[in-house]
Symmetry: D3
Subunit: 249 residues, 6 copies
């Protein structure tokens, strides 16, 4: 009976879309007894298409993590850049999952290398930064963009699918990628992977699905992030200042 | 209703012990509808404590994989050296899971580095070879041995637990490991991790559990190894010679 | 006649201490016609001793960068973790300097490897993340801590100097470090390097000095960050939302 | 008066062809007092064109090594994938040579990087695995295939030579390779290198020749594999089970 | 009042051209009180376009360094291959600057990667050797040549500028370079960077300017190379033989 | 009937000692028809114990290579730092062997890693530079020194043997080295390896022997360095200036 928070790191998602994603996220669960709730941060960018917006989402994410960890058993940071992942893990006494970190490692189980296909060129440098942080740069064949802004994708699902298929095929044929990681949660919740997987002929990983599965796996194994890499913070200091009301754990 | 084969790569396990492991493996399942069957190879070493024995297990593993893939939905190679993993993936049209590859990537989700604690020094070079193969050498803080032969461990479970705790603590304190991966399936099925996890204070990964969970995750996501890295073999040639009766897929 | 902003990323510094640092920073200038102004963010942590606090400083930093870039010619992010560096560079049309990135590269000019000596163990994982991001992990012999909280250091300058000398010597003798980078701006502005450099016998880099010099060097060379790595953002989108009033450049 | 075993790891070679290769191998010797004998395994694949076949050759190779080490002074594993190399070295008290490992290191003495030109795409992933195992991935400019099955090559020696020259030239011109390593022992014993070396203008290494020369060099220097990397096995345990009759050394 | 020696490592530069470069180098200074003197070695190649010529310049450079370090405060080795840099640093008690090492690290402050654009293909392998030596190979997107001999460039400044712009643009567009490092001091003193920087749209680093600025920065910070990496030599032994008259320091 | 030049890069060796080494070098030959001649440079250091001396030997080496390549079939640079190796290869139309490069690659054939044991700490940084240049840094467990000056060793062969054994054992036990490379040609020609190899229990490589064997192997295989990495120089330009009389090839 684990409760998982899928934390939307921006303020641009309508409540309806949040509900829709919540329904989908629950449909990704392996165990019926588990549940996923979608909540958005109180402050943050409309969408994340740049390192700037990724960075500006971190404050809102951490405030939510500080407060929500008493109400949930695990937290998924709902952005394909894993913003604030390391800080959230330090702050949190429950497992925190980064969809892209989880997807990258899953991709490594399927083949020698992977390509990430994201939305816009402007976010590609941030993805390479994550790859270096995770020590997986050498497993990444390429990072490619479909050239759709996040907020435009829902208007043209067929166009998104075609662009994703095109970039994925070029990744396999030209860059030697053994698999594809979808690089945007809005793309992920369009379930575009299901439209193209038959045609592609190489595994494609949906980070929304991968992160829900990874959360369940960690919970069922009783595992969470290590205090060696994510040391326990000084809760008292934090509670007095940037996270008023934060209690020691 | 997925059926998972846990393939024992040696001939030294009594049928009783196989049954006991089958019971445990089924208890690791997340989904009740799934099941794990334990089968052993027809030929192979008694136990795997050297690169030689690991290598001598591969023939038996592949023969079993060739034949069993029609009866199962996924195969776990039941050895903490993942013997024959790449070849089994080429040969198989269903997902093949290496417990150690899966555990290493899981460990990466929990902290910056991990230590593998295995049985004997004689198998350590083989583990480093796996780490290089998986591109994870830089994430491994150390490989340590508890100095118990595989076939002796069951006689002294407390001694094994103490030795594992000792090596794990030294790994964290001296080598900077953020987490521990147990490096032997016989150790894993003794559930030694459960005895020491409270005392250790760093995550410890049981490869038996991790491989069952990973098999379920891949099955529920509809993912399997990529034909880019594990190319489809010439089934006809193989069927005429080393795998008599093998059918094209 | 370049104006450099030294941006304090937290709110724990008294106005007096800011003034004192401003005086020192101006004394580090090579060219008299240049000037350094110290300003603090409007919101943020008291001090930065964890990945959490580093992350929580980024929002305040970027808001200040968005607004201040019209009033200055270059910006130094005044924290030895370079918080928000990549995002600030994207956002800014003037050079942005990270004291630690600048110090690391300076250290590389002086010897084969360096050790960073910081304040507390709790910030060490964040420093390794920076080293990986900058592609300099292999040049870093070790990261060590003197075990002084940021806000306590000023009470015991002699103790800080002794601890820095002790850790620096061990870095050279035991870790093979060719040079030392001081890993805290509060330590840097105590000018502890000047107290120990004679005794140490290996170069020690003060990031406050290094960042001022690097800012001047970039300005005099007419160089700033590349739009290839730090792409020009969608100023209009940013101006409508997270940075009200931001103008296109 | 050293006797070298060239061990054919498959069962597809006619006795005539074995004799022909034995003659050639002896012609590669530097010292007249030495000799090379060609023997084939008792069981194994017809030819090795996939990771599967490479893996299925290991059992037969090790059985032969276990038995033959009393009759020879050094053993060459006669396949350009070095199947079972590490295990054979553990098992053997005499030097074991992998033709590709030897050729790769020889290529490193001639230039900054090399390309391996093998037979079929299906074996390329196995070669990259060897490169990672040997720590030479960064020295390999590319792995290319001439698209000839092993058992077809002898029918069209001119075609093989043309294809090898074409791929080698593209390797030099497009991939920046400084030298070429022929990636198949059947190709090697066709002496195709001698046909194209004048035209190529870059060094080309024949692994059959390289392995014979390396065997002689090790023997004349009194060197063999280190027990640090290839630990002495438990001969008694092995002798009781997978290698009946194996004696301690 | 620091005096900097810009040491020309060849004998092919007219006294007029030396004077012209001295004037330019002084114009690059940040501090008026400092000065740069240009001196050439007594023996050496006419120009440096190969590893051979680079190597043949080292003897003359070191003899000059041995003698000149009493007359100057810092030495710049005036060649974009940094010939003899490590040896000169061992020999010298004052800072020694390699223009290319300094430029590479400066380039790292501006973006994720850089391309070096040099004169002829024949010097490219030497540049990759420097990159490996400095541990920056992974930051280099490519090394390209404009195909102008050093001694021909001055005859066609427009052609040089066009070729540099062409190669730089291809570096950015095709190789992903975030910045450009000019790879020849004769090119640098033609100030070609100033002609193309507006058109290029990515930072371009002039190693002549960068080395003068770096020399000043080191001097003003009181920093020089570490004796850990560049150990103090046995001055007595050197003074008796290869550097007659060399005094201990 | 190949003639090999063993080129002594310094001027400190008596003619008697040169003759003694010539005798030994000829005894290392595998083929009686081959011969080794020892010649010393005309100018250079007495012995090579620092980066400075290594650098000061290069001019003399190249002048000798330029002239001697018509009289010999291969050249061994007689110093365990391989001074001028890349330049000599560019300059030479016959194979040039670096004893240490050859020894490092030979060591890689014997185990996962090696330690180099050299004479003095002052030369250790130069050795790491070579390791980086050859792309073998990751294979080197450590570089250690026996603390004997080159010119003192012959006075105390027992002391040298004891020190080499002590450092070698510590390398194996503490650093994990699988093999040892002797890091000085004077040590090599004392044949100290033969005194300690029985006691050490790990392979030890004598670079004098290794380089003679490698020279013979290259000659018998008809291989030499690639013009891709060591481009053909402009012989005319070189002949007019630094190598008077040099002819095109």
């Amino acid at each position: 009976m684990a409760k998982i928070l899928y934390l939307v790191p921006g303020v641009g998602l309508s409540r309806d879309e949040q509900k829709r994603r919540e329904g989908l996220a629950n449909s990704f669960l392996t165990q019926e007894k588990n549940s996923v709730a979608v909540e958005a941060v109180d402050e943050g960018p409309i969408s994340i298409e740049s390192t700037i917006e990724e960075a500006m989402s971190v404050g809102g994410i951490l405030k939510k993590v500080a407060e929500a960890q008493d109400r949930y058993d695990a937290i998924i940071i709902g952005c394909a850049g894993d913003p604030g992942l390391a800080a959230a893990r330090e702050l949190s006494s429950i497992p925190v999952i980064g969809p892209i970190e989880a997807s990258f490692h899953l991709a490594c189980l399927l083949g020698e290398s992977f390509t990430m296909v994201t939305v816009l060129d402007s976010i590609i440098p941030a993805i390479w930064r994550s790859l270096r942080d995770y020590g997986l740069e050498h497993k990444c064949a390429s990072v490619r963009a479909i050239d759709f802004p996040v907020l435009e994708m829902h208007k043209d699902p067929e166009g998104v699918a075609r662009a994703l298929l095109r970039e994925s095929r070029e990744a396999v044929d030209d860059d030697g990628a053994a698999g594809i990681v979808m690089g945007c949660m809005s793309m992920a919740f369009m379930l575009v992977d299901e439209k193209i997987r038959m045609e592609l002929g190489a595994p494609i990983i949906n980070p929304a699905k991968a992160s829900v599965k990874t959360a369940e796996m960690l919970l069922s194994l009783g595992l969470k992030q290590s205090r060696v890499t994510y040391p326990e913070p000084d809760y008292k200091k934090l509670g007095l200042t940037i996270f008023p009301g934060l209690k020691a754990r």
